[in-house]
Amino acid sequence: MLTKRLIACFDIVAGRVTKAVQFQDNIDVAPAEELATAMYTAQVDELIFYDITASAQKRKIDMETVKKVASKVFIPFAVGGGIRNIEDMYEVLKAGAEKISVDSMAVRDPDIISQGAKAFGSQCIVLSTQVKRGAATPSGYEVYIDGARTATGLDAIQWIKKGEELGAGEICINSIDQDGTLMGYDLPLMEMAQKAVNVPLIASGGAGKPEHLRDVFTKTQTQAAIISSMLYSPRMERNYSAQELKAYLLENNVPVRPFL
């Protein structure tokens, strides 16, 4: 049986992982390479790296960090931030990542999704999107870009449908409202998304307790969940290991790759 995935997501600034709340107020956590290796040993199922300042600083992604991590971590990992074209994608894949996450750039130039899917296969292209509740769009959720700072007027559900049509192989939906609140994932949002697209969905934003993972996996068809704060944020009262989260989920009949 295909299992649900627990994904550790790293916001990287100058080779170090940082943690923000609602896209602001980043604090330093650890060197990316060190934390990635720790997460691999802890048997997290997948990693996502966002070079969060690459895009704003109009520079390329930090390839040295990607290479170092790829030589030590033997689980899938996706890289995003500062991806502008096919050449950037090719460089990330050659550095040893297997997926490319596109976000703001894809809103500005949706063709980058289809170009990437055509060149490297849909499985390589993760459409990541930041969405916020608001009455202005039909689904009640609007797409934001540039680190959740800029409203686009795009409807979140229409956008992910378009992303799937263009060839994204996976869609990661980050709820700006829930991000950093530790109050749980946005379940109505994930329910709407699962009806709209057939590709696997990743839920992001809001996980603070093991129950939140159980809920997103049992109440929606979401296939993967991002759990950054719970794993390593120094702001948390306590962190959780992937081992205890998996044990909890298995007890609650959620299929996950067991800790060995």
Partner: protein
């Protein structure tokens, strides 16, 4: 020398990282003459069957590989699409493949399951081979298509995704995994180590 076939759409660098991590020496192969010293050949795979076939043909590799793998019996491992193209035909882009193994590659039923299959799935090894594996370990899959071998004796392992499918194949010196051994944590590394430790003609 272990030779990892490097083509534009593949993920040869990931496989190289894993092989080196296990303490083996390896080199990329990009043209027919690179295989002279090959003791093991790995064909990594991401992307489509057609793109992979086109790359192999543009590098003039099919004939060379047949000589090395089918005649000289050099241990060969195809990963993901690298396994699929060993069959006669893939439904993906309707493309003829190498045909080393009898059978076809078909798409998962999208009415039944989300496609691509993406994630860790439990694998059941059904045929003993010189490569040791743990019976029910999980491995990482990313695939929209799956192989359907005509000869069930070629099935090394199975898994479930909207029904049972072939997760790995073996015929003599030819091995193939639908899952990514290079991205399946310690279980994947262990299988890869088993392959790299194979001796020829065994």
């Amino acid at each position: 020398m272990i030779r990892i076939i490097d083509y534009k759409a593949g993920n040869a660098p990931s496989v190289m990282h894993a092989v080196k991590h296990l303490g083996f020496e390896a080199k990329f192969a990009r043209q027919a003459k690179d295989f002279g010293d090959a003791t093991h050949i790995i064909l990594p795979g991401v992307g489509s069957a057609k793109a992979t076939m086109d790359s192999l043909m543009s590098m003039n590799l099919p004939t060379k590989l047949e000589k090395m793998v089918l005649k000289r019996k050099i241990p060969f491992l195809g990963i993901c699409v690298g396994m699929q193209i060993l069959f006669e035909y893939s439904q993906e882009d309707d493309v003829p493949c190498l045909g080393w193994l009898k059978g076809r590659v078909l798409k998962y039923d999208t009415n039944n399951v989300r496609v691509p299959q993406m994630g860790w799935n439990q694998v059941c090894f059904t045929k003993p081979t010189p490569i040791e594996t743990q019976q029910d370990d999980h491995y990482y899959f990313v695939n929209s298509y799956y192989a359907k071998p005509e000869d069930t004796a070629d099935i090394w392992a199975t898994s479930e995704y909207g029904g049972e499918f072939c997760a790995a194949i073996n015929q003599e010196n030819i091995y193939g995994t639908q899952f990514h051994v290079e991205k399946s944590g310690e279980a994947g590394l262990s299988l890869l180590k088993g392959f790299l430790s194979l001796e020829r003609d065994k």
